[in-house]
């Protein structure tokens, strides 16, 4: 029910955006994320972007996982 999936914003027209999800384009509402820009990834929930994905935080989390794995090996 609270499912939301990451999607790439390809273009923006007023309160709507064209996103790509699994190779398919569709129109979504960006009414709830006025700060969104083309090239951002958003979390898509029932036709609405509900947040812009923090790409830096995402990469940091993954780097942390890899560093911890290396430490475990060391």
């Amino acid at each position: 029910m609270c499912l939301a999936v990451p999607t790439l914003v390809k273009s923006i027209d007023d309160h709507e955006a064209l996103v790509e999800i699994g190779g398919v384009s569709r129109k979504i509402s960006i009414w709830l994320t006025p700060e969104v820009k083309v090239g951002d990834y958003v979390l898509l929930h029932t036709g609405f972007a509900i947040s812009v994905i923090d790409q830096e935080a995402a990469e940091e989390t993954l780097r942390l996982f890899e560093e911890m794995a290396l430490e475990d090996d060391g």
């Binding site: 029910m1 609270c2 499912l3 939301a4 999936v5 990451p6 790439l8 999800i21 699994g22 509402s29 009414w31 709830l32 994320t33 006025p34 990834y41 979390l43 929930h45 029932t46 036709g47 609405f48 509900i50 947040s51 994905i53 923090d54 790409q55 935080a57 995402a58 990469e59 940091e60 989390t61 993954l62 996982f65 890899e66 911890m68 794995a69 475990d72």
Partner: protein, 371 residues
Amino acid sequence: MTTKPGQKGIRFIDEYRNTELSRRVIERIYRRSTRNIHLMEFCGGHTVTIARNGIRQLLPPAIEMLSGPGCPVCVTANRDLDRAIALAHERGVIITTFGDMMKVPGSRSSLQEAKAQGADVRIVYSTLDALQIARGNPEKSVVFIGIGFETTAPTIAASILQAQREGVNNFFVLSFLKLCPPVIKALLDEGEVKLDGIVCPGHVSTIIGSHPWEFIPRDYAIACVVSGFEPLDVLQCIEMLVAQIESGERRVEIAYRRGVKAEGNQWALKQIDIVFEPCSALWRGMGEVPQSGLCLREAYERFDAERAFEIDPGPTIEHKGCLCGEVLRGVKRPTDCRLFRHACTPEHPVGPCMVSSEGSCAAYYHYGADL
């Protein structure tokens, strides 16, 4: 290792399904875990991730995972389901709903059965689709069945604001919206389940942020970590919970940093606040919980199906033998229910926990978590 745009796979999903990294996290959990603890995953989405990936079986036996009430379809009470079904039988009404609701049995029937009997019930993917149906059918009253938590509430608020801007006057919402922090408080005050840590819901927190969970470590000394929905996310969250518990710390942390900010989505919260106000709500298994629902404010009453229609659903009948309420409170497992896999299956569900894709009973059934 990370998927870049243009490569096969879905970015921000595939990376968090990495088997090798998951194995490493599990090893660290084994090294850190020294005592018996009870963790609750509040959200049905997490229940599915845990069941689908066999996470319960991969964890040290000392870590007990309990499922919580975080499934909006499951917690909708029979009384409210009956109201939606009664409304579907009203002349000139088109019911629009998320697909999950169709098969959920109320006291006497379901929306699907109402549709089979001739009611106009349509599945929509978004509130904006419901609004579109209203635009296309000006002679009908189009009612959206507003189920969901804080994640969905702003999308329903947005549709009402949009209807108002456009002057669409045949669009209504029957709000069964519910709020998560008050029900967790009610669950903890009840004292039936003893918890050491809570896997806090990711996409609810995307909207409300992490601050609304702070009463849990403060008042109940229970560790809280907000989690994403991929297996690596959930394992990371469990590792952080174990680390807190083992070190004696109790606080709110965010593991799902790519999707959740401490302050949440303030703009979305504002949209909710413009249209809705907190009110008492009836939860399956929990009963009436004060300030745990969202009702339309007076300024938007013309969109409120509650006020626009006289709904007489008849007396409420509970399903005999169904343990859905106990399962939602985390005091029983689906396998404790005599109906599970026998009288109650996804094809012939007795209770909503077997209907919703994220219901605990459905998750146990589909992924053989009981086998």
